[in-house]
Each structure stands twice: as C-alpha cells, then as structure tokens.
C-alpha cells in the first residue's frame, strides 16, 4: 500500500517507461461535482496481449513471468475498490496501454494525493530523454506541462541540467498549488 497517490503515479508511470514508451500522458483530474479523483495513464509503449492484460491485476500469478508488472497495479486497484472508485486497463500490442483509475474524493480510505508535483518532477528528471504530457485539472481549471515544448525551448541542453531542472520543478509546483488556491490533501 502506497502512502500517497503521488507514489502510485510514479510507480505506474514506471510501467510505461519499461514498456519503451516515448510519450507518456498522465492526468490527475479532481472533480468535486463527481466526487472523484481520477488518474489516467496513457503510453505509446509496446502494449500487452489480451491474456496478459486480464492477468495483470492479479498480484501473485504474474510477477514471476516478467519484471514489467508486480504489485503496482494490484495495489492501485485495491485502493480504488476500497474507496468506491473504479479501475480499467486497455492495451494493444504495438500501440500502447491506457490505465484509468478513480477514487472517491471524500472517502475516508482515500490516500492523500500527496506531492504530485514532486512525483512528476522525478519522472522528468530521471528520464530526460523521454517525453511526458502531464495534465492536472481541478473542477475544470487545467494545467498542462508538455516536455516536448520544454525540450524545444532548451535544445540542445538536457532537461536534467541543474538550472533547467530547477525551473521545471518550480513551474510544476507553482501551477499545481495555484489550481488548488493553497493546499489540498
């Protein structure tokens, strides 16, 4: 069990990276009207065959077959189920994978979102050669961070050059806290 949903984000995104994705889209959608926190992961990685997709949320039947999936998805699914949310996964070999998971916003068992900006920064900093489209939405107000735009702006420098990384970290963290108009757990 992860302490924060931000940890799940980092963990599940790692699957996309291991699948050889060049672009991974991660959305964090918060809706008070629907009373849901929804996380959507989409990648253009290698995808999975149907029988593997079916088995992928079974923790102990799949871990030994490959390093690609272990406890990450089962833990995520468990948390979603516990909080009155939902979980879905679609994948096609050669095309990519989409994971959509939601949690009851006001459910007492929902883990705090935690440091989403820290998790996103970690992904960008640790994988400077990959692209991420990061979308954060609170009741329709939206922030998009696209590493393709940043990459174009700083070329030929790498996204993990210290000063550029510092700018990225500040940008993501400011924008997210502005969407919340302060703090949010």
């Amino acid at each position: 069990m992860m302490r924060e949903l931000a940890d799940n984000i980092l963990d599940i995104a790692q699957n996309s990276i291991s699948a050889g994705a060049s672009l991974t889209t991660i959305q964090v959608l918060i809706s008070h009207e629907k009373n849901l926190v929804t996380l959507v992961f989409e990648d253009d990685g290698c995808g999975m065959p149907p029988e593997f997709v079916r088995a992928v949320t079974e923790p102990f039947t799949t871990t030994r077959k490959t390093r690609r999936v272990g406890l990450g998805l089962p833990l995520l699914r468990m948390t979603a189920d516990m909080t009155g949310g939902s979980f879905s996964i679609e994948s096609e070999v050669g095309k990519g994978t989409r994971v959509c998971v939601s949690f009851g916003l006001d459910h007492i068992d929902r883990p705090p979102l935690g440091d989403v900006s820290g998790a996103w920064f970690t992904l960008v900093f640790m994988n400077p050669e990959l692209d991420f489209l990061l979308i954060y939405e609170v009741d329709g107000r939206r922030f998009e961070f696209d590493t393709r735009v940043i990459r174009e702006t700083v070329a030929p420098l790498s996204l993990n050059e210290p000063e550029i990384a510092a700018w990225i970290r500040e940008c993501i963290s400011q924008e997210i806290s502005q969407l919340h108009g302060g703090t949010f757990q």
């Binding site: 963990d11 272990g70 990450g72 640790m126 700083v154 420098l157 050059e161 210290p162 940008c171 924008e175």
Partner: protein, 122 residues
C-alpha cells in the same frame, strides 16, 4: 505561469558557460532504488532531497539516477553511491533527513557514513 522566455534565458546563459557539464566530468553517481518496493518505502522524497542538497551546495560533477529493485526490499529506501575508482557504498533505510550528512561526509569529504550503510544496519 512561469514563462518560457525565462527558460530560454536560462538556456542562453548556460550555453555561454564554457565548462558545460559533460559526462566525462562526472565522477560520482548516486543511484536510488525506485521500484515499487522503494517507492512504497519512501524513495521519492529521498531522491528529491539529494537533488536539492546538491543544488544547494552547487555540486555539479555528481549525477542522481534511479534503478529498479535492488533485491532487498525490506531495507528500502536504498541508495548506492559510486565514487570513481572506489568500491560502491550501499545505504539502507534512507530518509530525507539523512541525505545532508551523506552529501557532506561522503560526496564532499570522501568518508562514507558508516552507520547508514548496509554492513552496519543489515
């Protein structure tokens, strides 16, 4: 919104610097275990603290990288420090408040922090 113009200015300034960070200048690597086990144990704040501490001290010849499961999940968060021409040092049960000491003692002064290492705690 922070402006892209600001970012472009950073780029311009960095490109003008003569001694841009190059891979052959890197003599120390800090590797954080970031598999499901590491993340669940709290690897993310540890990794972020290393990045912050190196920035605070203006250390540029050190990279922070991640690895998968190191194989001893009960000792996570684990951090391996590779200093050029020296034996690897493995730190276990790391937390953000231990990071400053590792950077000061080990990275800067070259003395591994014994009491945080796997040999001491494992």
């Amino acid at each position: 919104m922070k402006s892209l113009a600001e970012l472009a200015a950073i780029r311009k300034r960095m490109l003008e610097q003569v001694n841009l960070r190059k891979d052959d200048n890197i003599d120390t690597r800090i590797v954080v275990g970031m598999a499901t086990c590491g993340i669940a144990a709290g690897a993310r704040p540890v990794m972020l603290e290393f990045v912050e501490e190196l920035k605070r001290r203006g250390i540029e010849n050190v990279t922070v990288a991640q690895t998968g499961c190191i194989g001893m999940c009960r000792l996570e968060p684990m951090v391996e420090v590779y200093v050029k021409d020296q034996e690897k040092v493995t730190y276990v049960h790391m937390s953000p408040d231990k990071v400053a000491k590792v950077v000061t003692e080990h990275i800067i002064n070259g003395r591994p922090v014994e009491e945080y290492t796997i040999g001491y705690q494992g």
